[in-house]
Amino acid sequence: MTESTDAAARSVTNTTTAIRPRSIALVAVFAALIAVAAIVPGIPVGSVGVPITLQTLAVMLTGLCLGPLRGGLAVLLYLVIGFVGFPVFSKGQSGLGVLAGPSAGYLVAFLLAAVVVGFAATRVVRRRPAVWAPLFFVAAMLTSIVFVHGLGVLGMVLNADLSLANAFKADLVFYPGDVIKNLVAASAAAAVHRAFPDLLARRPR
């Protein structure tokens, strides 16, 4: 297991000349990962019973794994695939029509969130592995509070005709799920970086 993981880790990033096609593949695969996470039906969380989608989890994971540039590109690619009409947004939605919908703010926020959390991740992985998971969690939590919830509320105000206070209340139900999702994303990303130590070490071209 360890041996094959190490071999895979080396081959993902070893040759400098090969980084560009590999980055293309990484971006495409992570965009697909976000799409799959969004298509899978939401799971009800604990006693709160709010169904959460794994979409934001996948976005955070993408940023934490790939860094700001490739992570941002992966989210952008996911959005483009959805905009041209593939049903990869949550609940099987697609098309530019979602930009007129209440969740538009969240979709735009995903892009920013992946870039910001990805930038934080490039800093975090320079420290010792023991602190990766907690620092990833702090970065993901700050990012989702400032960007995902901030823009999400704005989107509901603009597109669903909610007042700021009502939109804020509608947005509050996502917080408990977000804490859980960010915990999961942070520990998963830490494990992935332990398995593929070179994933973020080299600057992507």
């Binding site: 993981t5 895979a8 081959s11 993902v12 000349t17 090969a18 560009r20 096609p21 590999r22 293309i24 593949a25 990484l26 971006v27 495409a28 695969v29 992570f30 965009a31 697909a32 990962l33 799409a35 799959v36 298509i39 899978v40 989890l57 994971l61 794994c65 690619l77 483009v80 695939i81 041209v84 009409g85 593939f86 049903p87 990869v88 609940k91 099987g92 939605q93 697609s94 098309g95 530019l96 029509g97 930009l99 007129a100 919908g101 209440p102 669903a160 005709d161 909610l162 007042s163 009502n166 509608a170 999961v184 994303a185 520990s187 998963a188 494990a191 992935v192 398995a195 593929f196 994933l199």
Partner: protein, 200 residues
């Protein structure tokens, strides 16, 4: 059934429209709905979109399947709107939302994947001056679309492996193997790209 099997081949005027025209129409419709403020205008729009499904020779079931996906969300918004802003506002918001979702679905039901990617490639032409190669954008989009069923299959495999072991489906224990497998897949795709000369 693949995850993204959406194109329904038919011989209809809607199918024959160029992909670019359909996408532009979708964007304009999205922007245009902002101007619709009366409840009957929204219902008229909804009727028009339903009519287009008829023109495209798609069954009512096609439309129903698309709308069912967002029904719960729209119902929630509708109830909220009735309480906060009255029924007329509720009809406008929900009607426009349903019409746009149905319209976006119509585009993907009547347009081939390759044609949509072609539009993206042409659309990103102006980005060339910023160092973005349109061909590479097209490659990214088609690779991304084709990776969706692959990653979905990997997710299924990881879940099966967990069930076979009788392991509890903890999210981290599911995600880490999925991401590791996805990274290995990306690695193979990268090698395939290099083998095909996508390297400069």
């Amino acid at each position: 059934m693949t995850v993204l099997a959406t194109y329904v081949p038919r011989d209809s005027p809607v199918h024959r429209l160029p992909a670019g025209v359909k996408l532009t129409g979708l964007v304009l419709a999205g922007l245009g709905t902002v101007l619709l403020g009366r409840w009957w205008q929204s219902l008229l729009l909804l009727a028009c979109v339903a009519g287009l499904y008829g023109v495209a020779r798609l069954t009512w079931r096609c439309l129903a399947v698309q709308l069912r996906a967002v029904a719960l969300l729209v119902a929630a918004i509708g109830v909220l709107q009735i309480v906060v802003a009255g029924w007329e506002r509720a009809v406008v918001t929900c009607g426009n939302l349903l019409a746009l979702v149905a319209l976006a679905a119509l585009v993907s039901l009547t347009t081939r994947t390759d044609d949509l990617i072609e539009v993206v490639v042409r659309g990103s032409g102006p980005l060339r001056r910023f160092g973005v190669e349109p061909e590479r954008v097209g490659l990214l989009v088609s690779l991304g679309i084709r990776s969706v069923p692959v990653v979905a299959r990997l997710a299924g495999e990881v879940r099966d492996a967990q069930l076979a072991r009788g392991a509890a489906t903890r999210p981290v224990a599911f995600l880490v193997p999925l991401v590791v497998r996805s990274l290995r897949h990306a690695d193979r795709v990268g090698e395939a790209l290099i083998a095909r000369g996508v390297d400069d």
